[in-house]
Symmetry: C4
Subunit: 252 residues, 4 copies
């Protein structure tokens, strides 16, 4: 296997496609949003990216069949336009690795004639948020107006410390390739997977990109998470400590 290997599975011609990235991150907001799109629309796996930058492991499905760590691209029929949705279970394991795999992701996107890039994620507020706002960052100032019209908030000094990882590099490297690129970040506590933050981000994306999607399953999960959050607040008032990442996965 090459250090980074792109496996092309299908090569459909996509209609004015936008890249939508939802890799694991804060509150799993981007991941939930991207996976929701794959559940709600017809989609087709078009490419996988393998890399020595991913953890050296295989996942095992319910039948016992192994699959090598990878990122996946699905072509999604979203009505008027197509989306190229990027999902996965892993981030790169080294700093320089993030640069290399993001370059590959953009290569795949360009091979499908993607015209704009949306990186979805969460921005941690440190506390539970009832009605999460969606904050934004862009590769080029031209993109701000349309996003503000769709409800995205651009707040001076936020996100503090910039944006780290693939989402940030999609803006930085995408911008350097001349691709319009934006990062949409739903406010979230940072402690739990957050389906209502994922929904807030998707509602913005619907308007900006031009598609319509239902939210029943995300709303159900949001209700469940509300109950979990209440239980955790009880736990906390009894003892010290935040839920760990393991708790978060178990809960999610």
């Amino acid at each position: 296997m090459d250090d980074i290997e792109i496996e092309t599975v299908a090569e459909p011609a996509l209609r004015d496609p936008a890249l939508v990235e939802g890799l694991p991150g804060v509150g799993h907001v981007g991941k939930l949003a991207a996976e929701h799109l794959l559940e709600e629309f017809d989609s087709e796996l078009v490419a996988r990216v393998y890399a020595d930058e991913f953890p050296p492991q295989v996942g095992i499905d319910d039948d016992g069949v192994a699959s090598l760590a990878c990122a996946e691209f699905h072509a999604v029929d979203a009505g008027e336009r197509d989306l190229l949705v990027l999902t996965g279970d892993h981030q790169a394991q080294s700093h320089s690795g993030h640069y290399h795999i993001t370059d590959s992701f953009l290569d795949v996107a360009e091979s499908f004639d993607v015209g704009e890039v949306y990186a979805l994620g969460g921005v941690p507020t440190g506390e539970l948020v009832d009605e999460p706002d969606v904050l934004g960052a862009v590769a080029d100032a031209d993109e701000i107006e349309a996003l503000e019209d769709a409800g995205v908030e651009f707040r001076e000094g936020e996100p503090a410390g910039g944006i780290v990882g693939v989402s940030g590099l999609l803006l930085g490297l995408g911008g350097r390739r001349g691709l319009p690129a934006a990062c949409l970040m739903g406010e979230t506590s940072g402690y739990l997977v957050d389906p209502s933050s994922a929904q807030a981000v998707l509602e913005v994306l619907e308007e900006v990109v031009g598609f319509e999607v239902g939210y029943d399953s995300l709303e159900e999960r949001a209700e469940e998470m509300k109950e979990v959050a209440e239980k955790i607040q009880e736990m906390q008032s009894q003892q010290q400590g935040m839920p760990t990442d393991d708790d978060l996965r178990y809960i999610g």
Copy 2:
């Protein structure tokens, strides 16, 4: 020395060979199993793999002669078929390193016309197990039936977290090369080297691959380990703490 260097020592033609991997891991199950095959059958060293991915060290034998960290391939006459047995004392020292050395291992296997791959290891249960089951994972669903017939258990959700390291990558990368590949994992506590788990795994391998081997030496070691385990349980009821890796090596 190249970053990864394959040293071919002999090039016998092997009869319908299967690769059997037993590098260090949980409970040293795979390592014990592979080393048992080398003790019980006639074998011949055919190749070594050196790599800057291995720890920068030499081992010293009882006479004071040094040998560079490496993995070894032995051709084993197992009766009806030959086995290509992969052993060693070290795993790669970096995440990406696991990918690179596993690719080399598969290159060596293919150079000997290996037709199927078996990665042997342990799955930690957290407690001493009297009659260890052997769990399985495969590169392709086709392989499941024959393994279940040989007594392998495929349990949904196990192993939790997938399979990490060379064993997992032999499935992932072997599968991508079109090689049938399976991981056989004996249940083990995770605290001690486990000869009876190694025996359970070999009993499955015997049936799946088609050979016969005796178990006297492994059964002796299993008896010794039983006594050690009892001593440790006494120690534990007196004080805090699990045996450390150093204890485990001393015991093993």
Copy 3:
């Protein structure tokens, strides 16, 4: 993006230019000094260096526009001569990375016919210093006299442990390329950003390189820092602990 990518933005012919490096370091002395030159003189961005050695992130400006982590070179009209000023927000993330990016910085410097190199920084004394001296180190003994005449102190055994990072490598690698190179280090506590140490270093640089600059803004900041330092000394006499890096950034 290549592993290290030099983006040439403009190619003015510079008059007997000297490279002046001010990347983040102890007390941000070099950074403050370099940024002061960019504020006080006319300057023009001439090159950026991107690298997978920098943290995988984008900074976001006040409007929400992202920019990829990079180092920047500005051509500065300093009167009689031009300066090529190197600034940035990040250092390399790996040991070998420092070598690679410093080589690139010297490549850029040589492409602009730079004839001498000045690395600016701080040397931590562990306590607040009223009138900071400027210590020196050079690539070649020939350079010492002129620097001593300008007030630089060469003290045996200082800096203890040599000079680590880009500043040190500019001396080591610059020297090996035959470039006169010197490191000017203002004494500083190491706890706070230090505008008066930056001023001390610039006063030496003025004399050695041959330019004149005003210090009003740095003197104002030094006054502010004095008040902050007094508050911190009060805090310390009440409780344990030095300000953290986060405090330092907030204060700075």
Copy 4:
């Protein structure tokens, strides 16, 4: 600068040269021994090795002149034969880095027609040793006899855990190049730099290689270290704690 760069300073023809390695390690035994040879005999700097594997830093001499981290080779006139002595202040900073720089060291050795390799070091015993033995390890069993005749001890199971770092790799990689190679390790506490262990190692080397050297300066230092060791034993009986690496450097 290339990732590893060999700078040839002089190219004298050496008489039946042996490589003698003394890089920093346990008790600085090898380093002291190698530096003693450079003090006692006529020597000439013949090569330097720079590498991005070394720490990214410059050392500063007493005049303030910087020099890039490197390893040095000196040709030493030891009477009947010449020695090629390898010294330095740093080890590689990464595991794979040790392989790469040791390969370069062997390249330099072979360019000077070195016929045998001696890696000098210490083996930690955990306690102060009055009359240190010299333990040995070899690349090939043929070498054992001559070393035993010179007083080297080959003890089964020692050194425990093999030999890590450049010394071990000189045996492993040197052996694979067909070079006779031996590691001579003086017993030492591991807490202090140990001039008498260095002397014990040199006394063996004298006999094996065929030269004669005086030991006055090492014996003086050994006396000083004895006093220091006594003071530390007093300190220890008063309080908790071993001297730190900083103490060790201060003491050494």
